[in-house]
Amino acid sequence: MNDSNPHYEQTRRKPWNDPRVRALIFQAVAIAAVFWSGWALIDNTLANMESRGISTGFDFLNQSAGFGIIMSLIPYDATMSYGRTFWVGLLNTLLVSGMGIIAATVLGFIIGVARLSSNWLIAKIALVYVEVIRNIPLLLQIFFWYFAVLRNLPSPRQSVDVGGLLFLNNRGLYLPDPVAEPGFGWVAAAIVIAIAAVVIIRILAKRRQMATGKIFPTVKVSVAVLIGLPLLAYLAAGGPISWDIPELKGFNFGGGITMIPELAALWFALSIYTASFIAEIVRSGIMAVSKGQTEAAQALGLKSGMTLRLVVIPQAMRVIIPPLTSQYLNLVKNSSLATAIGYPDLVSVFMGTTLNQTGQAVEVVAMTMGVYLTISLLISLFMNIYNRAVALKER
């Protein structure tokens, strides 16, 4: 019966001749091979470390670290654990990355827009900036800033003194530290109320504009509210803030807030370097918006600032966001060059000193890689969410 129907025979192919079955089998085999080799790699590493008497495991995180760190955002001293040094390093990495991302974005947008300016001089200055900065290796720029900053600063005893409040020397920038006194709660409450008020004003202004077409000066009013309300509360509560002013004690200044030169140098270098790439991304984004859009906006009577802000930039963002995300990721990863100038970031503190004192290379490197991966994935996630929000919506 089968013989009389060749078509039937063909549809009932043997499983090993069916491309779909074969594809599935090969994929299963490939996955199994990947997992098996991953497992073999880990097992082999552990066995080798065991046989060579190298300790393994994460118990070291509870041992006392016994070394000092020059800058930490959370309380730290040498009696605390290696687990704590991990957090100190991580927070320092996040601090410099966060500061870098903000500064690079602002600077990058300004340069990117300036690059397209109709003013010849401004456009050429932006061009030179981009071409010079992005073609010099970042490490050299970090060294340049570090030593350029350091060499020209006076020693603590000859500090640059601004009104006896702010001091600058080769140990860092010292600022007065505000200390909350009783009654500060009123000021804090005023800040919260001011923020809420600004949000409400924005919504109302938008609604009014939609309804009547009248434009409310949202920005000016918002700024006034944000500054005015807390200031009033501060005065009403009788000035509940005292200032911890830095003072020269022995070798150095004590008290106040300190920004160490390592942080400043790394921050400058990362921001300035990344900004040159962001500028090009912004330029390409703006150029991707059809000229007709600008002309249409102008025909409607929008001023050039408004045209840029309301018509061009929102459309350019679709093009800008994906490569911008990459630049943010680069900046975070590049912050690990901190170790070259002694800024205590995660790589310097944890993958440097902690790894060396404990000798647990595999664990420490795995944790550090995990951190950078997590940070990168989070940035990517948030940028993708934002990207979806600004993406062109087809209705």
């Binding site: 080799s37 073999a40 082999n44 300790s55 070394f67 000092g68 002694g342 310097s348």
Partner: protein, 341 residues
């Protein structure tokens, strides 16, 4: 089908690599002999200990320790290749088999001995941690350093000792940690830190790198014990013994008055101690898996311990360090080697 072959080939390569990683059949001595030279880890540049000159020739006490090991194995102290390593890199390089011996002013501590899979073979320099300060800050004792900023090299015992010392004396300090000793000197020279702290012998070496060495002074305080010496991997006792006894042979040679100058004449000596060391009597070399004349080769090629010391760090060299603790036990120091018998 082509894909399948690629996949299978890839898997086979992977399995092969893993299996090879597991098989550690050859002993270190065998692999060194097969390779034809010793692979030795040293500093990236520290005068007196290990420093390359402009032609790439390495000199220093740690370098000579490696040359002595090579002389013992090959009868030729030149059969060494040097791998410059930072403090942070050194242990990983040894653990992973990149080098056979780590001879890089490394302090012998319990943690390193017990948990890194390493064995310290002895001490070729007894040192202690000290402080280098600029003269202008007017400090003459470490107890006056409360609140000072310190330049330190990352991954050293120095980092830990400093924290211990300041905690014990209830003082505060600010540590600025750099990757290489070169960078710590730059930090110190640019005025970023008040004090450069390291082993005293290193301070002497680093001070000589300053543009005006007389502007800085080493404080009299020594805050730690730093026995520095060569390190090998755990799990190869024969290799451990070889590296250990090369240094002992050098110390014993000094005690017996054998130098690179008189070693040929000493071969005719009737003293049984000298005969055993130079291989004219007994089977000392054979017990270690080395040629019978390994002791002769070491002294002939590199010299005894005292010669090695005086040539690299002793009085008259730029470091100008007195023997002190590093003198023989018979001369008021603590250099003491077990008997070669």
């Amino acid at each position: 089908m082509k894909k399948l072959i690629t996949l299978a080939a890839g898997a086979a390569t992977l399995i092969g690599t893993l299996a090879a990683g597991n098989a550690m059949a050859a002993t270190t001595l065998e692999s060194v002999k097969d390779r034809g030279h010793l692979q030795c880890g040293v500093t990236t540049g520290l005068p007196g200990f290990s420093q390359p000159d402009d032609k790439g020739n390495w000199t220093g006490i740690d370098v000579d320790t490696c040359r002595a090991v090579a002389a013992a194995i090959f009868g030729d102290g030149a059969k060494v290749q040097f791998t410059p390593l930072t403090a942070k890199e050194r242990f990983t390089a040894l653990q992973s088999g990149e080098i056979d011996v780590l001879s890089r002013n490394t302090t012998w501590t319990l943690t390193r001995d017990a948990s890194l899979g390493l064995n310290f073979t002895g001490t070729n320099y007894y040192d202690g941690q000290g402080f280098l300060v600029r003269k202008e800050i007017g400090v003459s004792d470490a107890s006056e350093l409360d609140g000072a900023t310190f330049c330190i090299q990352a991954g050293t015992t120095t980092e830990l000792n400093l924290a211990d010392y300041f905690r014990a004396n209830d003082m505060e300090f600010k540590p600025l940690v750099f990757d290489t000793s070169e960078q710590t000197v730059q930090g110190f020279a640019s005025g970023r830190c008040d004090v450069l702290t390291s082993d005293r012998s290193q301070l002497a070496a680093l001070r000589s790198k300053l543009s005006d060495p007389s502007s800085a002074v080493i404080l009299p305080n020594t805050i730690s014990k730093e026995p520095l010496g060569p390190v090998v991997r755990q799990g190869d006792d024969q290799w451990f013994n070889i590296v250990k006894w090369v240094l002992f042979a050098q110390i014993n040679a000094e005690e017996l008055g054998i130098t690179s100058e008189n070693v040929d004449k000493m071969k005719e000596s009737d003293n049984p101690n000298i005969q055993r060391l130079l291989g004219t009597d007994g089977d000392m070399g054979e017990k270690l898996g080395l040629p019978a004349e390994f002791g002769y080769d070491i002294v002939k090629e590199v010299g005894n311990y005292g010669e090695m010391y005086n040539r690299n760090v002793g009085p008259g060299t730029p470091l100008d360090l007195e023997r002190g603790l590093n003198a023989l036990w018979t001369e008021g120091g603590i250099m003491y080697a077990p008997p070669l018998r």
